[in-house]
Each structure stands twice: as structure tokens, then as C-alpha cells.
């Protein structure tokens, strides 16, 4: 009896519940932005803007610098910082190093965003076909760009061309040939549909010129590799010719003006990653020092701020001393300084007192004490071994090459940023120049040289060299066809582009990473063939289905 009653009660209770409204539990996204937003006109525009944002993780950051300038023939380790394995090629390069996964994950997020834009464009309502075409072309440029960056660093990649719409662990490594084919296809389609001008009215959006520059880089890289085709050099040269002749790009008269922070949108810039003085619009998705901004002002500085008469200030910057030029860089690459202005204009050699007083000397043993008034020279780097007697006659400390060390060295000044709000502010506002016209000239010279067209190569190199001449020395800067060797080109690129997130990619392209790093960067003698590829982030391997994603050889 009792039992039956109870059963009835329970049943009644359950009936009550099961009639509860289904609609009540319908989940509508209110406090977040749901995925469908991307199918709206505004959401489609916002997705395209988002697709650009991943550029900031690689360009203008320590992360990008670590992958592109550390451990080269021209740059060796400075005193401070991490990621020393990228300088030394020792066991500190591990698949677990966080930069690997940060770069990988962030660029793949960018790629997935591009895939979504390309895949959804057809269904988006309220956007004109012309705009759709343009945004899709921008997405293809960015997708190609991200795959190019990743492919140069990691080798065979997981080539994903459609948006990830459901959770999956199935990944794969496509071949070099497949990846190059896709990057080239994307570039060509972007070139066809992007605005035919040097710069967009939204400065920093990709134009046809941006995509041509990327494709030229891609052909040049491919021309040396296992996927090379006979016409790669010619295609690269043709694209460079387009950039040199068909747009308004023009070399500035003065090499120093290229990196003048007050002249960032100059005629030499082909494509630039955008940073701003407003920190609200200066944020980086992942990997930025202090959360955003162009950080490159931090890393090339020497430790001036502990020296006599100096304290750290906004003008001289925050010297993280991550990289110091190798002696090969200073003595050979930048050895000629009478005709060529680029040593003087690339490196800071003078510091003026911002903390007057009398101090003991440190690195200059020619005197015991120095006294400075405000604005007096405190440190001078003559660039040669000035004698002790001569140094003794100077009222400041003279830093001679024999006293260079991991904390004291000529300081690359291309990226200094005096518009920062205070001396510790890491988030700089300068645009990062991904490609500039001088690089394009040197790329065409390289392609022509490889095709045996020495005269054309010489002419292009001379355009760059003449611009770099001290007044009245243009003639002396010119080289002859006989001087136009590949070794000369290798050094010319270093002279022109030192520090501009370029060198490691150059050495890799040429297949000279091991030779030249061993020869000119003694601390990196552990460099070996396996280092042409970085380790695949361990997370990519571990989180893929078991056994489907292989590590690069040797890691």
C-alpha cells in the first residue's frame, strides 16, 4: 500500500518536471559575441581586421627577432634575456620553448580567421561583391603570409584551407611543394583582386604591391630549395621590377631618413605592420612585451645606463641588450666607413650626459675619474682601437673594440622610439617595416645574379649603395661587374638590412646558415643542419591524434 502511494508521488513529481518548458533552456549568446556575427556585414569587416592582428605577434617583437636575427653571422648574444638557444643552437632549443607554440598557435589562429573569411564570404549579406572580393583577397594575402612565416621556420606544415568548425585532433604535415603551391596560388589570387596601388587609403591594408612583394620573397626562397623551378628567379625578378617601376615607391635620399621615427609612412615602405601611439589600439594578441606595441627599441641597446654620467631615459631607451653585433659584422660588413655612411647611421656611438657629476671610470682605463656637465659627451665609440694616450686626452670614456663585451657594443639605432610615455615603457608606436624598397632592389639583384645577369645585378646594388654614400662619395660607392659576387651581395644585404628581422631567413634561403654562423659567430658553434628548421612545438605533437604529427629531425 505504502509503496504504491510513494510511487505515485514520485511519478507525479517527475511528470511535473518533464513538462517543463524546452524553450527556457534555449541558450542565446548575450554576454559574448557569437560565431554567427561573422556572417553579418559588420562582422565580416571585423573578421578581416582581426586577420591582420596576428602580424603583430611576429613583426616588431622579441619573438620575431628571436626567429630572425638571433644566432646569425652578424648578431650574437647580448648579456641579458632568454631564448639563448636561438643564439647558441645548443640544447636550450627545445620543442617546449614557449615562443615556438606562441608563434605557431597565433599564426594558425590568423590562418583559421582567413579561412573563415574566404569560406563564408559568399553567404554574407549586405556587403557589395566588390568589397567581398577585396576582403577575400586581403585574407588570401594574410593566409599566404602566415604560411610563409611558419613554413620558413618549421618546414612542412599542416595546410588547412577551410575553417575549423568542429573539434578535431586530425592533423598532418603537407610537403614543401604543396605548401609552396598554395602560398603562390593565394598570392596570385590576391594580386589579381587587391587594390592596384602602393598603399591603401586605410594605410597598412594589403594592396597589390604588398602581395607582389610577398610573392617575390616566396619565389626567391623557393628557388634555392628542394621545390625549386627553373623560372623561380625570373618570377622573383619580375615581381621586383613591378614594385620598382609600377608604383610610387622611391628610395629616400638619406639612409638615415628611412628609420626616422617622424617619417614612418615614407616612400620606401612597401608593407608595414601598424602600431600606434594610442595604447588602446596598440595591443598585441600574443607575445608582445608589455602586451603590445613595437618593442624593437628594447633589444639592441647596450648598457649605457649604468655608466658614468648616464641614467636611463626615454631618448636613449631601455637597453635590454639581447643582441650584439659580431666582430665580423662590425669589422667586415661595416668595415668600410669612409664612403659608406651606413655604419655611422645604423649604430649609435655617442651618449651625452643626462646625470652630471664626477664619476669613476669603468671600461676606459686611460683615466680614473670623469666629470660631466649636462649634455657633455660621456661615452664615445670610435670604432677602432684608439690608443691609451689619445683616450687620455678625452674628457669622456672611450669604448674601444677590445673592450666590447656582451653588455657594451655599438648600438643599432634603427628602432629607437622617443615617443614612449616614459623610460620604462616597452610599447613603442613605430610601424614595423616588413618590406622596403631597398630590400626589393637587393632581391632583384640577387635573382639576376643567380641567373647570370651580372650587369643588371650590379646596377641594382649600385642604386642602394649610392643612396648610402656620404656626400660626394657616390662614385666611390659604385661597384663594377667584377666586384659583383654572391659574397658581396651577402654582405650588402647585411649592411643595408641589419637588424630588420631578415638575416636568419636570408642565411636559410642561401643554405649558408651553418657555414656562416660557424665561421663568424663563435658562441654558436653548435649550429648544425637540423637547425634549418625549428622544433615543432611539443603541444602540436602531443595534442594531435597519436603519431600523426612528426617532430623535425634531430629534436
Amino acid at each position: 500500500m505504502k509503496i504504491n502511494k510513494i510511487k505515485g508521488l514520485a511519478l507525479g513529481g517527475m511528470l511535473l518536471l518533464s513538462t517543463s518548458c524546452q524553450d527556457l533552456l534555449k541558450e542565446t549568446v548575450i554576454s559574448n559575441i557569437g560565431n554567427d556575427y561573422m556572417n553579418t556585414a559588420k562582422g565580416f569587416e571585423d573578421a578581416t581586421k582581426a586577420a591582420y592582428s596576428s602580424l603583430r605577434t611576429f613583426y616588431g617583437t622579441q619573438l620575431g627577432l628571436t626567429f630572425t636575427e638571433y644566432g646569425t653571422d652578424i648578431y650574437a648574444t647580448g648579456a641579458d634575456g632568454g631564448y639563448k638557444g636561438f643564439h647558441f643552437y645548443d640544447t636550450q632549443i627545445q620543442p617546449t620553448v614557449d615562443y615556438l607554440a606562441i608563434l605557431w598557435d597565433e599564426l594558425y589562429k590568423g590562418i583559421n580567421t582567413c579561412n573563415a573569411i574566404i569560406g563564408r564570404a559568399a553567404t554574407v549579406q549586405g556587403v557589395s561583391d566588390a568589397t567581398k572580393k577585396l576582403r577575400v583577397a586581403e585574407a588570401k594575402f594574410l593566409r599566404a603570409h602566415y604560411y610563409y612565416i611558419l613554413h620558413q621556420q618549421f618546414g612542412p606544415l599542416d595546410l588547412r584551407l577551410t575553417e575549423t568548425t568542429g573539434p578535431t585532433k586530425e592533423t598532418k604535415r603537407n610537403t614543401d611543394a604543396e605548401i609552396y603551391a598554395q602560398i603562390i596560388k593565394d598570392c596570385n589570387e590576391a594580386i589579381a583582386d587587391l587594390e592596384n596601388k602602393a598603399h591603401s587609403s586605410d594605410y597598412g591594408r594589403a594592396t597589390k604591391a604588398s602581395a607582389e612583394a610577398l610573392l617575390a620573397k616566396v619565389y626567391l626562397a623557393k628557388a634555392y630549395g628542394s621545390s625549386k623551378a627553373a623560372d623561380d628567379f625570373q618570377k622573383a625578378a619580375d615581381l621586383c621590377t613591378n614594385l620598382i617601376t609600377k608604383y610610387s615607391f622611391k628610395l629616400l635620399d638619406d639612409f638615415a631618413a628611412v628609420h626616422n621615427e617622424d617619417n614612418q609612412q615614407n616612400s620606401e615602405v612597401v608593407f608595414a605592420v601598424q602600431y600606434t601611439t594610442d595604447q588602446i589600439t596598440n595591443v598585441t594578441n600574443a607575445g608582445g612585451e608589455g602586451g603590445g606595441g613595437n618593442n624593437l627599441h628594447l633589444y639592441f641597446g647596450m648598457q649605457y645606463d649604468t655608466q658614468a654620467g648616464m641614467v636611463r631615459d626615454v631618448f636613449y631607451g631601455r637597453p635590454f641588450k639581447r643582441l650584439r653585433p659580431t666582430s665580423y659584422c662590425l669589422n667586415t660588413v661595416f668595415g668600410e666607413r669612409v664612403n659608406d655612411s651606413r655604419y655611422k647611421k645604423s649604430f649609435r656611438d655617442t651618449w651625452k650626459s643626462n646625470s652630471p657629476g664626477t664619476f669613476n671610470t669603468s671600461f676606459d682605463d686611460s683615466k680614473a675619474k670623469v666629470t660631466f656637465a649636462s649634455g657633455d659627451t660621456t661615452i664615445f665609440i670610435p670604432g677602432y682601437e684608439m690608443s691609451k694616450e689619445e683616450r687620455a686626452t678625452k674628457k669622456y670614456q672611450v669604448l674601444v673594440p677590445s673592450k666590447y663585451n656582451e653588455a657594451l657594443f655599438p648600438t643599432l639605432q634603427k628602432f629607437f622610439d622617443t615617443k614612449r610615455s616614459d623610460r620604462t615603457e616597452p610599447r613603442g608606436s613605430r610601424d614595423y617595416f616588413v618590406w622596403r624598397l631597398a630590400d626589393i632592389y637587393l632581391m632583384r639583384a640577387e635573382a639576376n645574379l643567380q641567373m647570370g645577369k651580372k650587369a643588371e645585378a650590379t646596377a641594382d646594388i649600385n642604386v642602394v649603395r649610392e643612396r648610402a654614400a656620404w656626400p660626394g662619395k657616390k662614385e666611390a660607392m659604385r661597384i663594377t661587374e667584377d666586384q659583383m659576387t654572391f659574397d658581396f651581395l651577402i654582405e650588402e644585404r647585411a649592411r643595408e638590412l641589419a637588424g630588420e628581422q631578415m638575416r636568419w631567413l636570408d642565411l636559410k634561403r642561401w643554405g649558408l646558415l651553418v657555414d656562416r654562423v660557424k665561421k663568424y659567430n663563435p658562441q654558436a658553434s653548435a649550429v648544425a643542419d637540423k637547425h634549418y628548421l625549428r622544433p615543432i612545438p611539443q603541444t602540436q605533437i602531443d595534442r594531435s591524434a597519436p603519431g600523426v604529427f612528426a617532430q623535425n629531425p634531430g629534436y
Partner: protein, 440 residues
């Protein structure tokens, strides 16, 4: 929800429950879950055959089985969400939105089925009383964040990842050891728990998932990493070199014996689940004096020490935990030789794991209650003078040998699922109190 209680003669007890829950957080067809429960009890002392057994005051056997649901996931996990990004064109901000989380339309209730059997007892007129319980909990469709390979464009997805089992025993006994006529009384509380947690099955069967550090037969939070087997010593220079290392640096176990250290050499280091834990409280009373102390211990778990990740650069630039590091004159196997040109020692992650076992003297309380006469003199009802010390002593090798902090301070990071003693925790403090209690 429905519940029914039934009791017969105060001997047999039965409770039945049934609930049906719905949550908007789950997928369209899986919003509802049914969660039944049953509990039975047998008051043995109320049986007639127990009448003659005088030394037993109370004996009760109970058993239960029940299922409960868990909807402990953030909202909107069934649908993809966008995340905001920042960029600019020229000086104009260009905020964007891009896919940030991936939806899982198949998400459903996690359910835990708990079965337990227990015995409550009291003998010798309450001199010994306590309870003993065995339990087993099977959690199915466990809701967790599952890492995805970065090339998908996403970090993780929330899903029902599998089946875990917790099995254990709990014992609690209170005894009155001495209760003499002269007023001396000594009582003891003793607790003991032992739990075994293991993954029974994952979403793809009985297959380990290295990316999430989920291994069949091991607890959810298992540490999987390179294992330090020592420091390369001076006479091992050649072997060290063969492994790309050098004297004074960390020697990692070459698990697969291929003479190089790769990801394949990682092993299961341990987990954060103690093998057993126990507590002991002793109370003494005599002639107005009272004294008690509480000891608690946990044994067999592994600590992941954030302190040894963040304060162990051994590079001479930042503040540094004091450790026993290798030098030619100190050929230790504990910590590697400092080097200026490093951010961290190579394979430093092998230095993060420590035995988490500890015994803590949680508190000591000592007091004296003045006699009623004394209290009356000052017009009070009672007067007690006391002193207590909270956490006066911790015995733990992590603390004493490796300069860690409180071994109990581990917290779980919800993003990574990793339990660690992070370097921003407050070390355990010892508090000594003296007091006078007057009641009017």
C-alpha cells in the same frame, strides 16, 4: 525531483530519490539528465538478537547508491564564440573579431554514480565510537577542457572526456583513553582516508592522451615530464657531451635508450592525489588545565612547484631560491651548476617536482579554567586563561630541504588544468595567541 522515505520499526530504513535536471549549457538533445538514488540502513542494535550484547551501544550498517549530475562548465560551450582583437590602419584603431572558442554541440551532463557501504558504531558506553566507510565513485562523461592541436586555430574544447573512478576508505574513531576519578581525562580523535583515483576510459577508449596528460589507470592530474636522474659529474664529461650536455648540468633519464634526449623520454613523474591522509587530535584535561593538539598528515602525492620554476634561473640575474647547486667542489646531484648565459637551466622542468608528503602540527591549545570561587570573587561566571599556537610546525622535505613553501598550498589553474604551488602564494604562518576569557 521526487523523494520517498520509508522506515520499518526503526530497524530498516529506505530512501529513494529521483531527479531530472535540465541545463541550457548542454547540447540541444542532451539538455536533460536523470539522477536516481537509493539508500538503505539497518539498525542492528535494534534487533532482538542484540539485546544480550551489552558492550555494544550502537551498530548500524548502511549502504547507498546514487547518481548526481554536474553541469560545471562555463555557459556557451556548445556554440562557438568570437574573441576581440586589436590592430590599426594608420592611426585609426581596427578592432576585430575572430573565432576564439569552438562549440561542442554534443556536450551533455557529467554524472557521478557513488556506491558506499558504511558501519557506524559505539561500544563500551561511548568509550570507542566511530564510523567506517568504503566507497566507489564512477564519474562518466566527465566535463573537462580537452586541448586541441594549435593548427586547428583553437586551444581547447570543452567536452565529455571519459570515465574516472575514485575508490577509497574513510575511518573515523573517537576514543576516551583515560577518564580517571581524580579528574584526568584523555581523549583521542583519529581519522584516516585513503583514495585511489584513476582514469578508466577516455573519449577514444583505453588510450592515453599525452597532450592532456591523461593516462589510463592514473589520476587526472598526472605529471608527465623529463625525469632528472642526477647531475653530470666531473668523471662523466664524455657521456654528458654525447647527450649535448656538459658537466654540472642536469642528467635526464634516457628512457628509450637511444642515447639522445627527446620527447619520447618523458615519463610519468607522479600526481597530486595523496596515497593516504590522516589526522590525530589528543585532548587532556586535569584540574582545570586543558591541553590539545592536532596532527595532520598527507602522504604520497607529488608537488609541482611554481617556486622552482620562477625563482630558479641559476643565472645570477634575478632573485633565486637558495638551493644545493653543483660546483666542482660540491658534486651534488640536486641542482645544476649556475650559468650566466641561460634563462633557465636546460630541462629545468625536471626540477619542479617534489614529494608532497607532510605532517603538520596544525594547532596546540592550552588553557586553565579558574575555579568557580575565583570567578565569583570578581563577579564573573567563569574565567579561563588560554594560549594557542596555529600551525607551529610542518615536517616536509619540500619545505625544509628544497626551500619551498606550504606543501598544502597547491591550486589548480583552470586554463591549463595543472595543479601547482604557484609562486604567488602566501607562505604558511604561525600564529600564537594568548587570551583571557571572562564570562559574566
Amino acid at each position: 525531483m521526487g523523494r520517498a522515505n520509508y522506515s520499518f520499526n526503526d530497524k530498516y530504513l529506505l530512501t529513494l530519490t529521483m531527479r531530472r535536471d535540465g541545463s541550457s549549457r548542454f547540447g540541444e538533445n542532451t539538455k536533460y539528465g536523470n539522477f536516481p538514488g537509493i539508500a538503505v540502513g539497518w539498525n542492528i542494535t535494534n534487533e532482538s538478537f542484540m539485546k544480550g550484547v551489552v558492550f555494544i551501544d550502537m551498530l548500524k550498517l548502511r549502504a547507498g547508491w546514487g547518481k548526481v549530475g554536474n553541469q560545471g562548465v562555463a555557459p556557451y560551450q556548445t556554440q562557438g564564440l568570437l574573441g576581440r582583437t586589436t590592430y590599426a590602419f594608420g592611426a585609426t584603431g581596427a578592432f576585430g573579431y575572430r573565432p576564439n572558442t569552438i562549440g561542442n554541440a554534443d556536450l551533455k551532463w557529467e554524472s557521478s554514480a557513488n556506491a558506499n557501504i558504511g558501519l557506524d558504531f559505539s561500544i563500551y558506553r561511548g568509550r570507542v565510537q566511530g564510523s567506517l566507510e568504503f566507497y566507489e565513485t564512477n564519474t562518466k562523461d566527465l566535463l573537462l577542457s580537452d586541448f586541441l592541436p594549435g593548427s586547428t586555430g583553437f586551444n581547447a574544447v570543452t567536452r565529455n572526456v571519459g570515465h574516472t573512478r575514485n575508490k577509497g576508505i574513510e575511518l573515523g574513531v573517537t576514543t576516551v583513553n583515560v577518564n580517571s576519578k581524580n579528574g584526568f581525562k584523555w581523549t583521542t580523535d583519529f581519522q584516516f582516508t585513503k583514495n585511489k583515483e584513476e582514469i578508466v576510459e577516455l573519449y577514444n577508449g583505453k588510450v592515453d592522451d599525452v597532450g592532456n596528460r591523461w593516462f589510463i589507470g592514473y589520476p587526472l592530474n598526472t605529471y608527465y615530464d623529463f625525469k632528472k636522474i642526477g647531475i653530470w659529474q666531473t668523471n662523466e664529461a664524455d657521456q654528458a657531451k654525447a647527450f649535448g650536455s656538459e658537466v654540472g648540468q642536469i642528467k635526464i633519464q634516457d628512457t628509450n635508450g637511444d642515447n639522445k634526449i627527446t620527447a619520447a623520454d618523458r615519463v610519468i613523474i607522479g600526481n597530486d592525489v595523496p596515497k593516504w591522509a590522516g589526522g590525530l587530535t589528543n585532548r587532556f584535561e586535569y584540574a582545570g588545565f586543558d591541553l590539545s593538539f592536532f596532527l595532520y598528515g598527507r602522504f604520497g602525492n607529488t608537488i609541482l612547484s611554481g617556486f622552482h620554476r620562477n625563482q630558479l634561473q641559476l643565472a645570477g640575474r634575478y632573485q633565486q631560491i637558495k638551493v644545493d647547486y653543483w660546483t666542482p667542489n660540491n658534486p651534488t646531484n640536486e641542482f645544476p651548476r649556475p650559468k650566466s648565459n641561460q634563462e633557465f637551466p636546460v630541462y629545468n622542468s625536471s626540477l619542479f617536482y617534489y614529494d608532497g608528503s607532510f605532517i603538520k602540527l596544525r594547532n596546540i591549545n592550552f588553557g586553565y579554567t579558574f575555579s568557580g570561587r575565583v570567578a565569583k570573587k570578581i563577579g564573573a561566571e567563569s574565567v579561563r586563561l588560554y594560549s594557542s599556537i596555529q600551525q607551529p610546525k610542518i615536517w616536509s622535505s619540500y619545505l625544509s630541504k628544497y626551500n619551498g613553501v606550504d606543501p598544502e598550498a597547491a591550486i589548480t589553474n583552470s586554463a591549463t588544468g595543472l595543479t601547482a604551488v604557484t609562486s604567488d602564494v602566501t607562505p604558511s604562518t604561525t600564529v600564537t595567541t594568548f587570551g583571557l576569557n571572562i564570562k559574566f
